[in-house]
Symmetry: D2
Amino acid sequence: MSRENWSRWGEHDEIGALNLVGAEEILAATALVQQGKVASLAQPLSKKTPVPSHRTGLLHFMDRDGGDYAAGARSVHGFQFAEDSVVMPLHLGTHIDGLCHAWSEDQLYNGHASTEITSTHGAKKCGVDKLPPIVTRGVLLDVAKRHGSPLPDGYSIGIEELKETAENAEIRLKSGDAVLIRTGWLENQAGKRRHDINFNEEPGIDVSAALWLANSGAVMVGADNYAIEAMPFPEGTIFPVHQRLIRDHGISLLEGLALQEFAQLGIHEFLFVAAPLPIVGGTGSPITPLALY
Amino acid sequence: MSRENWSRWGEHDEIGALNLVGAEEILAATALVQQGKVASLAQPLSKKTPVPSHRTGLLHFMDRDGGDYAAGARSVHGFQFAEDSVVMPLHLGTHIDGLCHAWSEDQLYNGHASTEITSTHGAKKCGVDKLPPIVTRGVLLDVAKRHGSPLPDGYSIGIEELKETAENAEIRLKSGDAVLIRTGWLENQAGKRRHDINFNEEPGIDVSAALWLANSGAVMVGADNYAIEAMPFPEGTIFPVHQRLIRDHGISLLEGLALQEFAQLGIHEFLFVAAPLPIVGGTGSPITPLALY
Amino acid sequence: MSRENWSRWGEHDEIGALNLVGAEEILAATALVQQGKVASLAQPLSKKTPVPSHRTGLLHFMDRDGGDYAAGARSVHGFQFAEDSVVMPLHLGTHIDGLCHAWSEDQLYNGHASTEITSTHGAKKCGVDKLPPIVTRGVLLDVAKRHGSPLPDGYSIGIEELKETAENAEIRLKSGDAVLIRTGWLENQAGKRRHDINFNEEPGIDVSAALWLANSGAVMVGADNYAIEAMPFPEGTIFPVHQRLIRDHGISLLEGLALQEFAQLGIHEFLFVAAPLPIVGGTGSPITPLALY
Amino acid sequence: MSRENWSRWGEHDEIGALNLVGAEEILAATALVQQGKVASLAQPLSKKTPVPSHRTGLLHFMDRDGGDYAAGARSVHGFQFAEDSVVMPLHLGTHIDGLCHAWSEDQLYNGHASTEITSTHGAKKCGVDKLPPIVTRGVLLDVAKRHGSPLPDGYSIGIEELKETAENAEIRLKSGDAVLIRTGWLENQAGKRRHDINFNEEPGIDVSAALWLANSGAVMVGADNYAIEAMPFPEGTIFPVHQRLIRDHGISLLEGLALQEFAQLGIHEFLFVAAPLPIVGGTGSPITPLALY
């Protein structure tokens, strides 16, 4: 029942379900671009970006700036410039989880040993640098719209509700899809101070819904919440959707999507493009996913 | 003669030449996807990524890893995970320069005051967070191929050579194009230790070539080198191409492209997609640009 | 009335009142060591260390650790090691403010221009690297003990109360003294979560008390609170004690002292030793001050 | 023969030889302060501070600065301020090694398991936060002076040479001493660019000299080089002095001392004061050691 996709693409595989995306899927998805428009699905990254308390937020430092020149910095031959640095957790804002992010029993996706992830080298297996760019059909399942408003904290989206949401949008999932789920959670946090945001209860999918997506051919599952799945977790489990999707199915998760504006267009299938930063050994990457329609 | 695009899109504009990309350009570019394939044009990001000495390289830290579990960390209900943080300059590896990155006479592109860029707030004008995703026709001008090998350090590509390179590839530049130039510089650094790389001499374009691109409608100029332009600079100038393209034309630069593998395909036009991280007030962003073909 | 110590030690001076400490003061202070004991007056530095929300807390990252070896890292000739890095604001935990930390009218202590402090170079004047080690008589004014408990938030300690506290302890201030004031604030925060700590109201000294210390010869003023002075500030002022002591008198402040345990000894004069990290251009430094008695 | 001090101060001990410093040692050391003077033995911390290539140097960022005000930042009620942050390895510049820094066979000093050091918690045993302030007699063994110049790279100081150096200075080591060795290495690096410094060959002590110090009662061993011990290491060993002193004897090392100026005074015994930052779980700490004389 578990570890469904282990060995499916060979014992050395580190990209999982993304193996399902080939030229056919890309060409079919490209054909969905009809208006010639692009939507960014990324949150702004700043010190206000919601982040749970065990992670730090973005630190953005100027190495050189306009203030320096105002204070008298000399500009040689008229050249002036500014540059800057950041400190940030890789799971910040809109970000993708690499396949090494979550596991159990000391085995990552495809049976890779978790001891491949160390302080010295980062993740030598299933790092975010191994993920190819994700270019495929994107599908929006707008559960919040179905409810007429953001889902309440803790609301669990089951298989039936997710199926109906897809049917109402006349979407039939197929192999290679990147599925994006709108819960309304992120919109609900607008205006809150970072430390007032509740990261322990959120609307999200349950394991039945997650497995339906996996079995329907999803190669990536995203949502506009903190952790894709409903929280609090069912009794006796911790991040069960992470375990089933990332570890057993080799499906990357895309968290913290900004879907509010795009959802208002009523578009449910589109060319989805998301390109992780190739941080060698990283367990995730901030990302700016795009919907081309 | 200078400040060509100031006020062209209104006094408040902060995106410059990217205003030239509309639905027509996007649809035309999408039609170039014929094989259903994708190439990433990004370098790996690690502590080995070439970076000039005034900037630090990538620092990648594990907040939790597989070693922790090997050392006995308890996993509640079987859940195990890894996560990590980075410290990095925003102009690292393959990255885009925001329009606030370079200027002169205390005025950024479009006349915005450089005093809008401070330690406290970063860039309040022309920050990388203001740039829209770049989705348009990409054009590869493979100057290195023309020479049969990477160009020598310091080699300056002028307008005539760039024009001929385009003609030989049967490319006619048009409004909205993202132009990528291959010099071979990055390939030439392979295997060198970070501190042995010469960032003071590199092949790149000169001002005449840059202005030809701008006047031909380029909305972004990228290259596989450190700074787009030939170094050392002509006597009495410092980063003249940066000044003319970024400040006067409002054209973002895309530096450190990994073009070697893609260039071998011999494809010279394609759907180009590059989505900066929306770092509020940032002067640049690491990025994973894609060629869809 | 203001800028009392400007030019007192020459127009180039960057250390202010610490000029008052000479061999005589050091020898007299050394004579106070009679039991042969040492107390550290520093808080532990961790992600739990109290810090106001506009600053980040300590980030501590392992570059290599025991988990790596547990995960199979090879040890050559039996050698194993661990090392680590931190990200931290310099005004964190128990720390000293350099004389460049606070000012007004674009002039630092001694008339140095505030434009000497830039992103590119840090503080070229009055940086914490300019401060000499502080070795002199330390004096404890235990206002909290006088009240029998930590002072309430917002409590303002005036000149009379501070004088009486000194008199009761039979302490007569003299030139060269490092004065430490116990308000009980830090003890009161014990057990609170970082984000529940109120940094806008605290017990501390008022301007009259501060000036009395300055006029009595204090070369450094420390306290077991966030900002030495009472908060909220008197109407129409912001950090008035910082301005008067740091800028006008050239007196460094030492914030976040851990005084609870030491205060229980009932010792009111001792050899005080505090050595800032010589961070070039820094505006402050975390520090471990010592009382030798 | 090995693990000499394990269990000597109980199975839970985490401070090692520093247990040897008591009131008697402190009082005797205090009596050495006769001129009323203080010397700092710390290098400046900046991006120029020598650091081996596997560590990053100091990154110093301004969060707010004078340039901001020059660029128009508003100052409320006249208050202006600057503050800043750093990113740094803990083994940078003049720094102390905690007893968890080096070990072998998965056991730290006193038999503590190296699995106590993880990414999640840092060092739960023998962290630098466990070290008490070091206040005791300091002894300078000026080997470079004996040679009339800095020792050549790779020069190994043996037991006989160290003994003679002490004898010539009329120093008889005793229990509780902090021993500082001058090799001249740091002085020799002056003016070199960071990446031109050779961290693989340096003058330092050998194991015989190290054990003589340990057996003579040294509680801390410092030097003005990168790693206390001679490099390259004897065939078949890696950091043997680290292993013997830190792990077997529980003696902290103090590296990167700035001794040139102090050595010129010709003072060979003094009150030594060094107070690590109490970074919870840290393996080391930058430090400003003092000689009071």
